[in-house]
């Protein structure tokens, strides 16, 4: 049988670390000859021995990292249906834009007069994000979603303090993403978990019981972590507002609703957006991202500095003067080059395009769910998922002992990156699937067939799942051992 394996890189199968490739006396660097007198730094400050960096030729360097790249899966290699991550196609044109010297070679502390293009880009993007989310102003400074959350929570804290009534708790659903509670703590609040009802939605009764004068706010994502739209959202935000609290919208799932509804219209006061999800800025193996945060009028005074402001003459400037601001969340102005890509995405799609993005994202998720829900039941069989769905392998495990992880690893051998597994924690043997709008129907059919095959093999040929993966650079890795015998460097 034709293997279909890509061409294997040169040499023995194990890709040694670059330290193993290193040979004393080799090098790749080159610099212009020193055209001034050398200087001696004060002896007490000098380094005794040079750092133990690898010594390699440029070709060895290129081969090493080319080879490592070949041992990695990306969106360009195939579907990457991680729930809650919106792993969609990253348009190549965004790279063309980000590489323009006017952006890439701009120093963050240049005078505003020399950065008018960059500042106008940020201004326009802020405006677009506000319209998209129904907010008044936004900061583009947070370098990722989690930082956006903390930014929002610090604004909550400043808001309540400004009103002379500090509050100490923040409510989050028990299914919430881990960054939510972690951010709440870093914001100096205590977490109060709110339960879901049997629809998998916020239990409004239960919520009503816990909402009080000590509640600074509530954090929600909508659609929620199960991919379900919180139908009672208006009641929920109203409840919190009536007790003087604020409501935070975790924008990780914004890909479901663009052009259909807006967090602002649902009653949210603070919204973050993950540009690396909704706006397809490349995830880069785990980052960079950007986590712009929009707020309602009342909270504008608390936004971080610097902010982009437009002067009467139409020129733009970075302004630090905002007495009630929480201050700066980043060393400079955030992940600018990521925001350039987000700008390209937002304005290339435009009003109609963004609405279509969400339409197709929801279409794809519902289609894939329809193809597999009989073998991998939805966590909430009676609710319609939006841009993603959560299935469970619990009964498969019941029947066959095969776990979600086994299914995931088998999928790899069948040629597909698995969905998110074991999140949300509230769902047993969870498989959280977000295909995104850029996947074709054929690809959805193919991965559905692979999922069904794996489910079928769970009874007919369980070992092929237990042993999986066998087609990868390495097979299942011992994570317990990694934590027990720490080897964190060569």
């Amino acid at each position: 049988m034709r293997t279909g394996a890509p061409v294997r890189a040169q040499g023995p199968p194990t890709a040694g670390s670059i330290a193993e490739v290193s040979r004393p006396g080799r090098s790749a660097w080159s610099f212009a000859p020193l055209d001034v007198d050398p200087v001696d730094l004060p002896p007490e400050h000098r380094r005794a021995l040079p750092p133990g960096l690898p010594e390699v030729s440029e070709l060895e360097l290129v081969r090493h990292f080319t080879r490592l790249s070949q041992m990695n899966h990306g969106v360009d290699t195939g579907i990457y249906p991680l729930g809650s991550c919106s792993m969609k196609y990253n348009p190549k044109l965004a790279e063309t834009a980000a590489a323009m010297p006017g952006f890439s070679r701009l120093h963050p502390l240049q005078p505003d007069a020399t950065a008018q293009g960059a500042l106008e880009l940020l201004w326009r993007l802020e405006g677009a994000l506000c319209e998209l989310t129904g907010m008044a102003r936004a900061t583009l400074q947070p370098p990722a979603g989690a930082c956006g959350e903390l930014t929002g929570l610090l604004m909550m804290r400043a808001y309540h303090e400004a009103r002379g009534a500090p509050r100490s708790t923040v409510l989050i659903p028990d299914a919430a993403h881990g960054t939510n509670p972690a951010s709440v703590r870093m914001g100096g609040f205590d977490v109060v978990a709110i339960p879901a009802d049997d629809r998998g939605l916020v239990d409004v009764e239960a919520l009503a019981k816990v909402v009080d004068e000590d509640v600074a706010g509530l954090m929600l994502t909508n659609p929620n972590t199960l991919g379900l739209f919180e139908r009672d959202i208006a009641t929920i935000t109203e409840l919190v507002h009536s007790a003087g609290g604020l409501v935070y919208y975790d924008g990780a799932n914004l890909n479901a609703i663009m052009g259909r509804t807006r967090p602002g219209d649902m009653g949210f006061d603070i919204v973050h957006i993950n540009t690396h999800k909704t706006f397809a800025t490349p995830h880069g193996g785990g980052g960079p991202g950007a986590g712009p945060v929009g707020v309602v009028e009342e909270l504008v005074p608390f936004l971080p500095v610097p902010r982009v402001e437009r002067a009467g003459d139409g020129s733009f400037r970075l302004s630090e003067d905002a007495p009630s601001s929480i201050g700066r969340m980043h060393g400079f102005h955030g992940n600018f080059a990521v925001l350039v890509r987000a700008y390209a995405y937002v304005f290339m799609h435009g009003a109609d395009g963004l609405r279509e993005v969400s339409e197709r994202a929801v279409l794809n998720a519902n289609y894939l769910a329809a193809l597999v829900r009989d073998v991998f039941p939805l966590a909430q069989p009676n609710e319609r998922p939006m841009h993603e769905f959560v299935s469970t392998a619990a009964d498969l495990k019941e029947r066959t002992g095969i776990r979600a992880m086994d299914v995931a690893k088998r999928l790899i051998d069948l040629g597909y990156h698995p969905p998110t597994v074991y999140f949300p924690l509230v769902v047993e043997e969870a498989l959280m699937v977000e295909p995104t709008e850029t996947e074709s129907r054929e690809t959805l059919d193919a991965i559905a067939a692979a999922l069904r095959q794996a489910a079928e093999e769970a009874s007919s040929d369980p070992d092929v799942l237990h042993d999986a993966p066998v087609t990868t650079p390495v097979r299942r890795l011992d994570e317990a051992r990694a934590a027990r015998h720490l080897k964190l460097r060569w």
């Binding site: 960096l53 120093h107 977490v191 785990g286 060393g331 390209a344 964190l488």
Partner: protein, 441 residues
């Protein structure tokens, strides 16, 4: 411009499979009252050529360091980035992948991060590094969080620490419950605290500091340790080929802005937060950490490890809320460091130091221009006093084609920070000195 591949037939047949009549039906869970009854108030979508023309127009309105000779630094530097860095880091298998949750499909990113951690340890002479943080400023915030517990909550900051870093600490401190306390820095450096009490968690020193000046890190470390506090050292990675590493100076935790390692200026980001520490701190470290382990066949491989520290497991008890980090910048830094190697990094440091020294002499020879801190040793950046105000002088230099540095108002209205990297030629420095002479004449 559209990327969704659906044909009309696809849509129709997929809706049928789902069992709904229209796309609108998929959104019926949204209560009518909440539906956006109008199109978004954004321009209509455009083509690739139009969006690129628009962006080229914006980029063209900037006057960046491709059109200005750059002597600006203050935390972001115009270093040379060899072509291999992005030829490799830009490979789509790295670029379009995400956090390596499935290690068997992510050995490329995982091994590269393991190599990044290893190189950071070699650079800093410390035991462990994580796999990146947002930037230098937030790395300092995380370092401080590692040191604070119970009684020990105060944070002392040397006067030579960049005010942008202090401002960032202040913002995050509001949530964590501390306000950074700034120590006096006579002569733009020093100010080792006389006695560090039992309530102090961390003493922070930046070396080279915001004025480019070399600090007595050992002295700060001694003082911190005498009081049982931790010494957090903010370092410059490009200095570590020539300057003694944090680990040898007594630092417990070292953090840095890693932009200089393979990353373009990008108007401030994405940059690279570096954090390394002594092994005793490993379970307090924030963010991803990659470890080596074995697979079922006993072959070596890499995984994310010590995840019990992290938000997705530990939730509110996590060491940090960070999830998405700056992996791609860490990959670029790894490639750049391997391109430099030990000799290259040393050469780089020597060039920066020599050119900065040359520029210092040339600029302070200009009538009316003075060293802000006479006699203070520095690495690749230094502070001068210019007549007529730093801002005005900087603007006048722009007209002559120079990005002439960064004003340091907190140190005085006439203080200008001047950074000189290996990229600056003697001729450029001479021309800069001549232009400055004109401007201040």
């Amino acid at each position: 411009m559209r990327f969704a591949p659906h044909t009309e037939d696809d849509v129709r047949e997929m809706l049928a499979t789902i069992g709904v009549a229209s796309l609108d039906d998929l959104f019926e869970e949204i209560p009518p009252g909440l539906r956006l009854g109008r199109p978004l108030g954004l321009p209509p979508g455009v083509s690739e050529e139009e969006i690129l023309d628009d962006l080229a127009d914006l980029a063209g309105r900037d006057r960046a360091t491709d059109r200005l000779v750059c002597f600006a630094g203050a935390g972001a530097y115009d270093h040379f980035v060899p072509s291999v860095v992005w030829a490799l880091a830009g490979r789509s298998e790295f670029f379009t992948s995400y956090t390596p949750y499935q290690p068997e499909l992510s050995q490329g990113v995982l091994q590269t991060l393991f190599e990044f951690q290893s190189m950071v340890c070699e650079l800093t002479a410390l035991d462990v590094s994580n796999a990146s943080l947002y930037d230098g400023a937030t790395a300092l915030v995380e370092a401080v969080n590692m040191t604070r517990s119970g009684e020990r909550s105060r944070v002392l900051v040397a006067g030579g620490v960049d005010p942008r870093l202090v401002a960032t600490l202040r913002t995050y401190g509001a949530g964590s419950g501390y306000a950074p306390e700034i120590l006096e820095a006579p002569q733009g450096r020093g100010g080792v605290p006389a006695d560090v009490g039992p309530d102090v968690a961390a003493v922070i020193v930046q070396h080279p500091n915001v004025f480019g000046v070399l600090e007595d890190v050992g002295g700060f470390a001694a003082a911190a340790h005498a009081g049982g506090a931790e010494l957090v050292h903010v370092f410059d990675p490009t200095s570590l080929g020539v300057l003694a590493p944090p680990g040898d100076l007594g630092a417990d935790i070292a953090v840095a802005e890693g932009q200089s390692l393979g990353n373009p200026l990008n108007y401030g980001g994405p940059y690279l937060g570096i954090l390394a520490a002594r092994i005793g701190h490993v379970r307090k470290m924030p963010g991803r950490i990659v470890g080596e382990t074995l697979d079922v066949d006993g072959d070596p491989g890499y995984v994310l490890t010590l995840q019990a520290r992290e938000q997705h497991i530990r939730r509110e008890k996590a060491t940090s809320n960070i999830c998405t980090n700056q992996t791609l910048m860490a990959i670029a830094a790894t490639i750049h460091l391997a391109w430099l190697g030990p000799t290259g990094l040393t050469e780089l440091g020597q060039r920066c130091a020599a050119k900065a020294a040359y520029a210092f002499a040339a600029l302070t020879a200009v009538p009316g221009v003075r060293a802000a801190f006479p006699g203070a040793p520095f690495f690749k950046e230094f502070a001068i006093r210019v007549p007529g105000g730093a801002g005005a002088v900087r603007d006048a230099l722009l007209e002559r084609g120079f990005l002439g540095g960064v004003p340091a108002p907190w140190a005085g209205p006439d203080v200008l920070l001047v950074a000189v990297t290996e990229r600056r030629s003697r001729a450029q420095i001479d021309a800069f000195a001549a232009a400055l002479a004109e401007v201040v004449a």
